[in-house]
């Protein structure tokens, strides 16, 4: 029983964090979002150079072969720096799906090395998401039809743009027709990969939400420490302190729930889906509260376009229902909890 991260995992996170701090500053993100594409090939290739896009690509295909546990740290960094959707969708969620294909499947060699070197953008459609993020820009879309999983070239998909309040989102409604040429896998294997795809998508969002919550907390702490009223920093008032202490508590409480889910997913545990949903709900609570308390302690400044809080707040609101809304995740937990024979109570926490 060792519920900790390895030094390698922690130092990789630290390196990525330092990198994003300088390369993905809020003012730079704002500039990128003002463009039609909303994405910067330059930032993307710099991120690839750091090894992030290679993280879960198997070593045989040119990647680092790390798993969901490492991503539980990395997705928090992506959230903290509000990195747009397609990076995690490509490098984590889609790479996970492709790495789950049979070893001799031709799509592996076609796509995995290019994910690792950062030269391909993928977008993923799933029935829990009515729209596909980054569909417009993707080279290939992973799309589901019944138990089949398809990899469809962008040229074969119609995309209708749907603007979001989160200026970093590029959502599209897609229409497409699968063909024998686009089919990746179907049947029992297709269903299994689809289930993992959903869990990975949901967990990716969970980690990002937690990172967003931390960013909003940090921005709020900075603001209340320097903003003065009644002759002192407003952060010295208990009413303000307690708002932010509650946010810190929700964040700390959600972390181990996220990590247990990541570990279960990496091992392919049967309970992984329920654990992912618990993680999602805990992380949703943390980021929703961080947004609410964040804008409250920023006062009117929090309601402006100018102050950076809005960037992270809107992203948190948008991601809250991505890859399964709270109702979806609550039902997955409730279906287990209230069923006959559920193993509850002390001693069953890590039982698969």
């Amino acid at each position: 029983m060792d519920f900790t991260f390895s030094d390698d995992q922690l130092s990789f996170r630290e390196a990525i964090s330092r990198f994003l701090m300088t390369e993905a500053a809020p003012e730079m993100l704002r500039e990128i979002w003002d463009t039609d594409a909303g994405r910067s090939p330059d930032l993307r290739s710099k991120i690839a150079a750091q090894g992030l896009t290679a993280l879960s690509v198997p070593e045989a295909e040119g990647g680092l072969g790390m798993d969901d546990v490492a991503w539980a740290l990395m997705t928090q960094e992506l959230g903290y720096y509000a990195i747009p959707d397609s990076l995690a969708d490509t490098a984590y969620v889609a790479a996970g799906l492709l790495a789950g294909l049979p070893a001799d499947h031709p799509a592996r060699a076609r796509l995995l090395p290019r994910i690792a070197d950062g030269s391909v953008r993928l977008a993923i459609g799933h029935p829990v998401n009515p729209l596909v993020s980054d569909a417009q820009l993707a080279e290939v879309l992973i799309l589901l039809d019944g138990d089949a999983v398809h990899a469809v070239p962008r040229a074969e998909v119609d995309v209708e743009a749907n603007p979001s309040i989160d200026a970093s989102r590029r959502l599209g409604r897609v229409s497409w027709q699968g063909t024998a040429a686009t089919l990746l896998i179907d049947g029992e294997q297709g269903r299994k990969l689809q289930a993992q795809l959903l869990d990975r998508g949901a967990l990716s969002v969970a980690g990002q939400l937690l990172g967003l919550a931390q960013r909003m907390l940090d921005l709020s702490v900075d603001y209340v420490a320097q903003r003065k009223q009644f002759g002192k920093p407003i952060g010295s008032f208990q009413a303000v302190k307690h708002h932010l202490a509650d946010v810190a508590r929700q964040i700390e409480q959600a972390k181990p729930v996220l990590y247990r889910a990541a570990h279960g997913l990496a091992r392919g545990d049967a309970s992984a889906g329920r654990w992912v949903s618990q993680a999602r709900l805990a992380c949703c609570e943390a980021s929703w509260l961080a947004a609410r308390k964040g804008i409250q302690v920023h006062g009117a400044m929090g309601y402006t376009w100018e102050v950076d809080l809005q960037m992270f707040m809107k992203r948190a609101w948008s991601l809250d229902a991505a890859w399964g809304d709270r109702g979806f995740h609550k039902s997955r937990v409730g279906d287990y909890l209230f069923a006959a024979g559920a193993r509850l109570g002390p001693g069953h926490t890590f039982e698969d």
Binding site: D2, F3, G334, F338, G345, P346, T349, F350
Partner: protein, 387 residues
Amino acid sequence: MELTYTPEQIAFRAEVRAWLKDNLPRQPLASYDTREGFEQHRAWEAKLFDSRLSMVMWPAELGGRGCGLIEWLIFEEEYYGAGAPMRVNQNGQLLLGPTLMEFGTEQQKQRFLPRMAASLDMWAQGWSEPNAGSDMAAITSKAVLEGDHYVLNGQKTWSTRAIFADWLFGLFRSEPGSSRHHGLSFLMVPLDAPGVSIRPIKALNGKDAFAEVFFDDVRVPVDNRIGAQGEGWHVAMATAGFERGLLLRSPARFQYTARKLVELYLAHQASADRDPGLRDAVQDCWMGAEAYALSAYHTVGRLSQGAQIGAESSINKIIWSELDLKMHDTAMRLLGARGELLAGAPAAGDAAGWLEGFLFAQSGPIYAGTNEIQRNIIAERMLGLPK
């Protein structure tokens, strides 16, 4: 990260489970807030100690088994999962015990810890005073050094089960003219010493659950001081950390309550579902208990890597106290009009037990430092906000 138990840990769990199955009291013990119940619980503690199960993580020479923290969590899971009695000597075993391990002399450890593990000595706390509650540094009870003794005068209050206990530990002002957290000493006082008088305070449940303790020229040997003279605040903060943190309120008892809550909901689902919020509340409680358990394992892992918990123990305290409150609030809503019935009431049925827990849950956000104080600590020490 490896979230499976070792074969030794699995065997330890089986041993504890089997022992509890063979040894659990057949009848529930009387409340430990009564004299009768207190002594029943002391006898139960002696039985645990005889099998070296009262303090599994203490070294063998001090009455334990030298287990690690994971084994301790396993023990707690089996213990509370079996519905075993509450731990009557927790103030000693879980608060003073670790304090002595960290700050006590070898002689003090030998003298106090084995007797504490066996519950031959039962311990009460002496922190709060009538004018020093949340503001504990306002303590005025005095300890004047005379030769090799301190002479104690003053008053402590809210001292849990002190009328039944044998010893008290707490903070006394030993430097004349000192103020706030300076000049305090951490002392251990036998409650049968001449000059000690104890007046029970009836709690919400009608029982003498806590007490006021008066000191009138009470002589205590200098050997009963933990840490240096005047450095008691530092020692007390460590004790408070144990109280707020993992040790006093391990997750297992909350997971046990959460399981019972799910069972209560299922037994009354038809009436419960008239209130659409109840199912959600039950699920939230259960997820909250699971999250607390996960955080305990994560913390134990980080401690083993050399991390310090520090102000995080304040987060812990808020989590367990508010979770306990929410679980019992939800149970009362599920029970509806039967919720008010005392355990012995003929119509109480499965309401029995929840009411007592509901009352006790009201104290959670108050004792061990109010949750307002905990939020201040989180804001100032974790987030770095100005005082």
